[in-house]
């Protein structure tokens, strides 16, 4: 895919090819302006249907050519969650917000009911379903936004920095919710995030973009190397710590990417 926004001097993404399998948890990262948000907008057809510009290439979701379907049709297949839940909630109760999608898909009442209850349950929002969104905390609002997307039962959910407005505790809780959708229900997750510290333990794959192109793509362990550092990616702190320790002459078989791996390695070194 290549896309140039109307009025922009050059493409925001250039010749991007990705193949994501069902059930993957993919983190997309890269410096500001690298094109990662643009890729997200392509995934559910916002580009080229909503943002004007010059699009070339093809994108298929479950064999559906995104170009040949409306954004509304794609919403049932690819759900999108933004940074700020404020932009996504508009009803007078959480339940109404969550029911909005299924109702607009023209589903039967029973089916809508079932999906709404399920989506509220999975996101831990059942007890708060009658509250107006503006009375909720930021973390609860983001859960409600995820529930609203989930009720359309998409196979893929794309999240663009979904925790950056949240306090650290709420952020971790939201990431647990997302991880559960992936592990328990098998929803494919595509998560755009700068903060690799908090997302690495959930991801099976990390895609690094730079200057509109994909430059690294693989398991976190294989991606978090010197090249990623040079592009300006903020490696997880534990990975950076172990890179320093290696330079200090310490030896260990593999470089950790999560706190648990790092703790295990240090325990081994310190109890020898």
């Amino acid at each position: 895919m290549t896309f140039t926004y109307t009025g922009a001097p050059r493409p925001s993404i250039e010749d991007v090819s990705i193949d994501i399998s069902r059930g993957e948890f993919v983190v997309v990262t890269g410096p500001s302006g690298c094109g990662k948000t643009t890729v997200c907008r392509c995934l559910n057809g916002l580009i080229p249907n909503f943002y004007s510009g010059d699009f070339s290439g093809e994108l298929f979701v479950d064999d559906m050519n995104v170009k040949e379907h409306t954004t509304a049709e794609m919403a049932a297949h690819v759900g999108l969650v933004f940074q700020n839940p404020d932009n996504q909630l508009f009803s007078l109760s959480v339940e109404r917000d969550v029911a909005f999608g299924p109702e607009n898909m023209g589903l039967q009442r029973d089916e809508t009911r079932k999906r709404v209850d399920w989506a509220l349950d999975v996101t831990g929002m059942t007890a708060l379903k009658d509250k107006p969104p503006y009375e909720l905390s930021g973390g609860q609002q983001q859960r409600a936004a995820i529930a609203a997307v989930l009720a359309m039962q998409p196979k893929v959910i794309v999240l663009d920095e979904p925790t950056s407005f949240l306090d650290p505790k709420s952020a971790l809780e939201i990431l647990e919710v997302i991880s559960n959708l992936n592990k328990r229900i098998g929803i494919t997750i595509i998560l755009v995030e700068h903060r690799l510290d908090i997302v690495s333990k959930h991801a099976n794959r990390v895609i690094v973009m730079d200057d509109g192109k994909i430059v690294l793509d693989g398991a976190p362990r294989n991606v978090y190397g010197e090249q990623a550092r040079l592009i300006g990616i903020g490696l997880p702190r534990v990975t950076t710590l172990f890179n320093l320790l290696r330079k200090d002459g310490l030896q260990f078989p593999r470089t950790p990417t999560t706190v648990d791996e790092a703790a295990q390695e240090l325990r081994r070194m310190l109890s020898r």
């Binding site: 500001s32 920095e161 407005f165 709420s170 952020a171 908090i198 702190r237 320790l245």
Partner: protein, 273 residues
């Protein structure tokens, strides 16, 4: 110096957002205000430049009660950069955006041109000088909003969530920039949820919860206090979490950044040999 005494604030018809806050922020200090969503952080800093007036108690800036001044007057000394840049930006080009306030303050065009060029360079925005702020990415728009305040050189600078949407290198630049502002004697107050950024900058942390100050301590001290972190909806920074898991091996949980952790680990291994 920014000082609050018994500061309370309630929006009309709502319960109190600030429930009695006593704080002194000295000139040249670097302070991070942290706490859960809805704790009152943004409300608090809006009282610093008179955007909001206390419903009880008082706020003084450099000895002047904010009630006896105006937002226009206070803003020259207290530069507030909002969380959402779109609430702040309105000009056709980035250069115009930066020149706007300087014109209002009555500076000559020569000075305006010079100041704008310098600040564009400092914040890595020169290449966007003639672009519309609205074609820029979220992170870039945030830097424009910051530049638009810094350009008039306020004495106290308040940044609401400056790291959201910023990548690693920009955070690094922001950190250096804050150090530089502090070195010039400017007060820098940031509101942030970013424990990693705070662990690396080591400001004084003021922790708010439900409209009250529940902690006011240096970063390494506060970010290693498990029960307080829990109350304040904070988490340990990643390195602090790692050190905490290894306390039994004598590693200090106050080591919250990679360099202090590296030293602590080397010492622990050295002791064994």
């Amino acid at each position: 110096m920014i000082e609050t005494q018994g500061l309370k604030f309630a929006y009309p018809g709502s319960s109190e957002v600030l429930r009695g806050i006593d704080l002194t922020i000295n000139d040249g200090e670097f302070v991070a205000i942290m706490g859960e969503n809805g704790a009152g952080k943004t409300t608090l800093v809006k009282t610093f430049n008179g955007l909001l007036q206390p419903t009880a108690g008082r706020v003084t800036v450099d000895g002047v009660d904010t009630r006896e001044s105006s937002v226009a007057r206070l803003s020259r000394d207290v530069g507030l950069v909002f969380q959402n840049p779109d609430h702040q930006l309105f000009s056709e080009t980035v250069r115009e955006e930066l020149a706007f306030s300087l014109r209002n303050f009555g500076y000559g065009e020569d000075t305006i041109g010079r100041r704008v060029t310098t600040i564009l360079e400092t914040l890595d925005l020169s290449r966007y000088a003639e672009s519309s702020p609205f074609i820029l990415s979220g992170g870039e728009r945030k830097r424009v909003a910051l530049a638009a305040v810094l350009v008039w050189n306020p004495k106290h600078i308040i940044l609401d969530e400056p790291t959201i949407g910023q990548d690693y290198q920009q955070k690094d630049r922001l950190r250096n920039f804050i150090i530089q502002l502090n070195a010039q004697g400017k007060t820098v107050v940031i509101i942030t949820h970013d424990v990693e950024f705070v662990a690396e900058c080591r400001p004084r942390i003021i922790l708010l919860s439900k409209g009250l100050v529940i902690g006011d301590r240096p970063a390494d001290d506060l970010l290693s206090d498990g029960p307080l972190l829990e109350r304040g909806s904070l988490t340990r920074p990643q390195i602090g979490e790692l050190m905490n898991q290894l306390r039994d091996f004598g590693l200090p949980d106050r080591a919250i950044d990679v360099y202090s952790a590296e030293q602590a680990i080397l010492e622990a291994l050295g002791r064994k040999r």
